[in-house]
C-alpha cells in the first residue's frame, strides 16, 4: 500500500508540474458553470437544487475523463519509463492502482472546486444538502468508473489519441445503454432480462438513483466492480504488452 501511495503522489505532482492540470481544471470548471447556468435553463426552473448540474456529469465526463486517462499508460509505454517502473521494486498491480488513484484524486479535486455551485444554490434558496452530498459522491464514483475504464484502454495502445477515442466510445456506450432510445429499441426483440441488465450496466441508471439522494448498495457494487474489473484488465494487458 505504501508503494501505491508513493507512486500516486508522484503522479499527482506530475499533473501540476505541467500546464495539463491547470488547463484541464479551467475548462472543466468553465464548462460546468456555463452549461449549468446557460444551457440547462437553470434559472427558469425556479428550483433551488443542483439536479441540472449533476445531470450533466455523465455527459461531460465522457470526454473530460479520457483527457486525463489517455496518458496514464500510453505515455508510460511510449516514453519507455514503463521499463524503469517495472524494474523498480513495485508490482504491476501496485503501479496500476497508484496511477489510477492519482487520476481519481485529481478528478476529485476538480469536483471539489465546483463548490461555488453549492454556495450559489444555498444562497438562492434552501436546497436539500443531503441530496447534493449524495450526488457529489455519486459523481466521484462515476469519475472513478470512467477513469478505470480509461486506464485499461490507455494500456491497450501507445497512442494517446487512440486511447482517448476508445475511452470516449466505451463511455458513450455505457451512458447510452440507459437511455430510453436504446432501451426501447432493445425491448423490441430482446427479453426483459436482457433489457434490465442493459439498464443496470448504464451509468445513467445509477446516476439517476443516486440523484434522488439514495446511494444504493447496487450502485456501489456496480461502480466498485467496474473499477476492480477494469484495473484487473489493465494489469493483464500491461503484462502482455509492456515490452512491445
Amino acid at each position: 500500500m505504501h508503494n501505491v501511495w508513493i507512486l500516486a503522489k508522484r503522479e499527482l505532482a506530475g499533473y501540476f508540474a505541467t500546464p495539463v492540470a491547470y488547463v484541464f481544471l479551467f475548462f472543466y470548471l468553465a464548462l460546468m458553470g456555463f452549461l449549468t447556468f446557460y444551457v440547462t435553463g437553470y434559472y427558469e426552473r425556479g428550483v433551488a437544487d443542483l439536479q441540472p448540474f449533476f445531470a450533466l456529469h455523465p455527459w461531460l465526463y465522457m470526454f473530460l475523463i479520457p483527457a486525463i486517462s489517455m496518458r496514464l499508460w500510453a505515455e508510460e509505454r511510449k516514453s519507455g519509463t514503463i521499463e524503469l517502473l517495472m524494474t523498480l521494486p513495485i508490482s504491476m498491480s501496485q503501479a496500476v492502482m497508484g496511477k489510477f488513484l492519482a487520476a481519481w484524486l485529481f478528478s476529485g479535486i476538480a469536483l471539489v472546486l465546483t463548490f461555488p455551485m453549492w454556495l450559489t444554490v444555498n444562497y438562492l434558496g434552501k436546497p436539500d444538502n443531503g441530496v447534493i452530498l449524495a450526488s457529489y459522491i455519486g459523481s466521484f464514483l462515476l469519475a472513478g468508473g470512467y477513469l478505470a475504464l480509461g486506464s485499461f484502454l490507455s494500456a491497450v495502445t501507445k497512442n494517446q489519441v487512440i486511447a482517448f477515442v476508445l475511452t470516449f466510445v466505451a463511455g458513450l456506450l455505457l451512458v447510452l445503454a440507459g437511455t430510453p432510445l436504446v432501451l426501447e429499441f432493445a425491448r423490441q426483440f430482446a427479453p426483459d432480462v436482457f433489457v434490465d441488465s442493459l439498464r443496470s450496466f448504464s451509468f445513467l441508471t445509477h446516476m439517476n438513483s443516486i440523484g434522488s439522494g439514495v446511494i444504493e448498495v447496487r450502485s456501489l457494487a456496480f461502480f466498485g466492480s467496474l473499477i476492480a474489473a477494469c484495473l484487473a484488465a489493465c494489469v493483464v494487458t500491461l503484462d502482455l504488452k509492456k515490452a512491445s
Partner: protein, 239 residues
Amino acid sequence: MIEIQNLTKEFGPLRVVDSITFTVKKGEVLGFLGPNGAGKSTTMKMLTGFLTPTAGTARICGHDVEKEPMAAKRKLGYLPEGAPAYTDMTPAAYLDFIADIRGLTGDKKAARIAAVVKEVHLDQVLHQPIETLSKGFKRRVGLAQAILHDPEVLVLDEPTDGLDPNQKFEVRQLIRSMAQSKAIVLSTHILEEVEAVCTRAIIIANGKVLFDGTPEALAQRGPLDEVFRKITTGDRIAS
C-alpha cells in the same frame, strides 16, 4: 551474483536470444558487446525481469527474477536503453521519488541522494526539469537513479551513449570505482570501453555467445575492430 542459464527469447518465429548462459561474480565488470540487434538489450531486459524469457532462467543474488521479482529487483540497479525518466520532474524530485520506492528514508535517503549527485555531477541542474537537460545530463540522471540504493548488481544498457569524451571518462571512472563491491554488466558498442573498464567481455551476435574471456585475451587476437568484425560476421556466414 548474476546467474543466467539457457536464457532464450523468441518474438514470434524470430529467436532474438538463443540459449545464453553466463555468470557474473562480485568484483567483475562484464562488457556485453555485439552488433546492433544482436540481443544485448533483450538479454538485459530479461535479466532485469522486464521481459519474460521464452525459456531459461536469470537469477540476481540467488533470486529468480521470474519467481521472486521483488527480492531480485531490490538488489538490482538498472539503466534501461536510452535512459528513460519522468521528464517533467527535476532530477531532485525524481531521485527523491526513486529513493522512496527503494525504501530509503530520513538521513540515509538524504545522504545517498547527496552522494550520487556528487558522483555523477548533477548539482548544477538539480532543479531544472529533466526534459530541458542535455543528452549527457539525462544519461547521468539515469545513472544516478540506478546506483541510488547502492545495489549489489548493476545493469547498464549503453551507459556512455551520447556523452562527450570527458563525460565518458568520468562515467568509466565511476564504474571502475564501484566495481569492487558489485557485479556489473554493461552493454556497449564502443570497443575501447571494454578495455578501459571491463574485467571480462562477452561478444554476442544473432543471440548467441561467440566469445567469453578477458579483454586481454581478446586483444591478443589482434586489433579490436578486426577481431570484433571477424567474430561477429564469421558466425553470420557460417549460419
